[in-house]
């Protein structure tokens, strides 16, 4: 090594051109190093980001990616976590459960990530969570499914940034029964997420004295939908739709073509139109129909400062589209979950004094100890309550009506409307 150095003129005191550049670079990067200097180690905290870059979840993935990058930027600009910068390591899971589990394994064993984080589609989460439990790596999901709170996963899987389907639909039942009608036909995707809708909304509407007259399950990879619609009974008062996948625009368009001018009331989950411009040709029939929104896509009249700052940070305009391209509509009702989850991770790591993978259990305990999460720029969607036993967060839900081609909020539920009894206690499981 020494010989090598002397041959290339790198002995101390000899200044070569390469050394000069190296020195300059070191000086140039000083402010960054200084910013995180108070930490014992300024090694970055590595967050493995499992993202739907390809496959049927790609539109969500694109926006989860942008939101995550924006949240990490904000955390780093404010000094990182425990004085250490945050590094996002993204891997495509192909919206595929098998690949999802492999990605979690890569995070734990190859990338040396501190935690895994990110993905949306319920089948990917259900496929990946057992591997996260085996590898003992905290897995923060932004998925909406009821699978976390139902108790089928494990202590390493948490969902602190987005509410689950069960709480969402339990809060929708009363509004639908009171304002739209009591005979409901449900159209939902035929996998775990859709089944949560089917089971918990049916229960919720029945408690209101309503009935679900027909349940129509559609495979999430389907591309033509008209053939399913004749199963909608004539006496249906409300069509409840929730659809995912690349063909959602076709789904909603064909729904309109099927009904023509004489449609029943339509209540949809915005999932059916995430990343789709609501003013697309063929969607005119949606005027006057209702949507659940996790977070209102269009800036409302009473927009908060937090929403304004959050939109600016992730690069979204007042119509929920990218600032750079008004045709690139965001998945606004879901992606806030990435932003809020990363802020929970930061708070949890700070509370537990997280220093490295040995402190993973302490991090989980710190998050489990959280309860009230006040409305703030850390939680721009609204105040939330975290349940440490079920690893699930609860929050406000929004119902919007399509009015002149935009979604206006007509009802906001309380957090109490969304609560249900615990079905599990993860804190009883050993690490």
């Amino acid at each position: 090594m020494l010989d090598n150095r002397s041959r290339t003129g790198h002995l101390p005191g000899t200044m070569t051109r390469r050394r000069a550049i190296g020195t300059l670079a070191a000086v140039g990067s000083l402010p960054l190093a200084a910013r995180f200097a108070q930490a014992q180690s300024s090694e970055p905290i590595r967050i493995g980001f499992q993202v739907h870059r390809t496959g049927i979840g790609a539109a969500y993935g694109r926006w989860y990616d942008r939101t995550t990058e924006a949240a990490a930027r904000r955390i780093n600009d404010a000094g990182g976590i425990n004085g250490r910068p945050v590094e996002i390591i993204a891997e495509d899971d192909g919206t595929d459960p098998k690949r999802g589990a492999e990605v979690v394994e890569k995070f734990a064993t190859q990338h040396n990530c501190d935690i895994a984080f990110g993905t949306l589609f319920s089948h990917v989460v259900i496929g990946s969570a057992p591997r996260a439990g085996e590898l003992k790596i905290p897995y923060f999901v932004v998925s909406e499914g009821h699978h976390v709170a139902s108790g089928i996963l494990n202590r390493y899987t948490l969902q602190p940034g987005i509410t689950d389907v069960k709480s969402q639909v339990e809060a929708m039942g009363p509004y639908v029964a009171e304002n739209l009608g009591k005979k409901v036909t449900m159209i939902f995707p035929d996998f775990a997420f859709g089944h949560d809708h089917r089971d918990y909304f049916s229960a919720s509407i029945e408690r209101q004295g309503g009935t679900v007259v027909e349940k129509i399950a559609i495979p999430p990879t389907e591309t033509a939908f008209t053939k399913y619609f004749p199963r909608i009974p004539q006496d249906t008062e409300v069509v409840y739709h929730v659809m995912v996948g690349p063909a959602v625009l076709t789904f909603v368009k064909e729904l309109g073509e099927f009904f023509g001018p004489s449609s029943p009331e339509i209540f949809g989950f915005i999932d059916s139109l995430e990343a789709v411009d609501i003013t697309s040709p063929g969607l005119e029939f949606l005027e006057g129909s209702y949507f659940w929104e996790g977070y209102p896509r269009y800036a409302q009249a009473d927009q908060t400062e937090y929403d304004k700052a959050y939109r600016a940070a992730v690069g979204v305009d007042d119509n929920g589209a990218a600032l750079s391209d008004s045709k690139d509509v965001s998945t606004y009702a879901h992606m806030f979950g990435c932003w809020e989850t990363l802020n929970i991770v930061k708070a949890g790591m700070e509370a537990s004094g997280y220093a490295g993978p040995d402190d993973r259990a302490a991090l989980i305990e710190a998050v489990e100890a959280m309860t009230d999460l006040p409305h703030s720029l850390d939680h721009p969607q609204g105040a939330k309550v975290f349940n440490g036993r079920t690893h699930q967060v609860f929050g406000h839900q929004y119902i919007s009506r399509v009015n002149e081609g935009r979604l206006d909020v007509v009802h906001t539920t309380s957090i109490e409307d969304t609560l249900y009894e615990d079905e599990t206690d993860y804190t009883a499981q050993a690490f």
């Binding site: 539109a59 694109r62 033509a224 053939k227 909608i232 690349p246 023509g260 004489s262």
Partner: protein, 308 residues
């Protein structure tokens, strides 16, 4: 929904599927019949047709009809040229050896799919139909006052969907005329019957192969351009058409155009009707089962000629 209107709706939906499968399957069948090769990348040429249609329609702008008309001319032609180039670049180099061709076209499938993913991206993108009016369909009902016309809820289609069916019929008729009445058709049929003899008579067989491969891919692309205003352009959309075309080609008899056509209509209609009345999964199960039965009891296909 009552049985009658329900059946009409199911048949209409089935007819649209049938129209698109017919074009795609006939493309696959021509390639198999004349070149004796199995093109596994056929579904990706279909997908490419839809993607190029989106690109062209977006680039042209203006009234949707203008973009669509340009797309329906440009997309199949472009796909045809790409396929012909592939024939020249790959298939000819491996002398159309059946096994190696299958492997090569599987490779092609991934190359086209991933190239689309890298350029077009993972999103589904819509192409606006040139015209689209909802047409309510009346139904006859026997009531108190005798026969009367009613307009059942949900019984309707769109003008564009009907146009897809008509367009498929027109294109397939034109193809039949080309095969039967033109010199090009004669050359293709001669090559199909006996390629060595055709060569001996001075037919440039390698060039015919390139044209046929391009034509087959172009037909798939044409089917895709027709369906893309109803569905959307997406990089994974080639899977289903490939499967259904294979089923149609096998049931119809490998290389038999009328057989393929009959099978495509049968598969399309039964898919529509069974999906509506039972479930889409059952429709796929039955179609695959039918293939199994055909392979067991009539391996040459319904219209294929038994080898003597």
């Amino acid at each position: 929904m009552d049985f009658g209107p329900h059946l009409i709706l199911a048949t209409l939906e089935g007819a649209i599927t049938a129209a698109v499968i017919s074009l795609t399957a006939v493309g696959l069948s021509i390639v198999f019949g004349i070149m004796r090769i199995v093109n596994v990348a056929h579904g990706e040429f279909f997908m490419l047709g839809a993607i190029i249609a989106w690109w062209v329609a977006t680039a042209v702008g203006g009234h949707p009809a203008v973009g669509f008309v340009v797309a329906i001319l440009v997309a199949p032609a472009t796909v045809g040229v790409i396929a012909a180039a592939t024939d020249w670049l790959v298939l000819r180099r491996i002398t159309y050896d059946p096994e190696r061709t299958i492997v090569a076209t599987i490779g092609l499938l991934y190359i086209i799919q991933q190239a689309t993913l890298m350029t077009f991206g993972p999103d589904a993108r819509p192409v606006e139909p040139p015209f689209n009016r909802r047409l309510a369909i009346p139904w006859v009902e026997f009531g108190d006052g005798g026969l009367s016309l009613v307009w059942p809820w949900g019984l309707g289609t769109t003008s564009y969907k009907l146009a897809v069916i008509v367009a498929a019929v027109v294109i397939l008729t034109a193809l039949w005329l080309v095969m039967k009445r033109t010199r090009l058709g004669l050359i293709m049929r001669a090559t199909q019957l006996d390629s060595e003899m055709a060569m001996a008579f001075g037919i440039p067989v390698t060039r015919v192969y390139a044209v046929v491969f391009g034509l087959g891919a172009g037909l798939a692309a044409l089917g895709a351009v027709l369906i893309v205003p109803v569905q959307q352009a997406h990089y994974l959309m080639g899977g289903d058409p490939l499967l259904l075309s294979f089923i149609a080609v096998i049931i119809g008899g490998l290389g038999s155009l009328p057989g393929t056509l009959v099978a495509a209509v049968l598969i399309g209609l039964s898919d529509g009707i069974i999906s509506v009345f039972f479930s889409p999964t059952l429709a796929k199960i039955l179609a695959t089962l039918l293939v199994a039965f055909v392979l067991v009891f009539r391996p040459e296909g319904l219209f294929g000629r038994r080898k003597t």
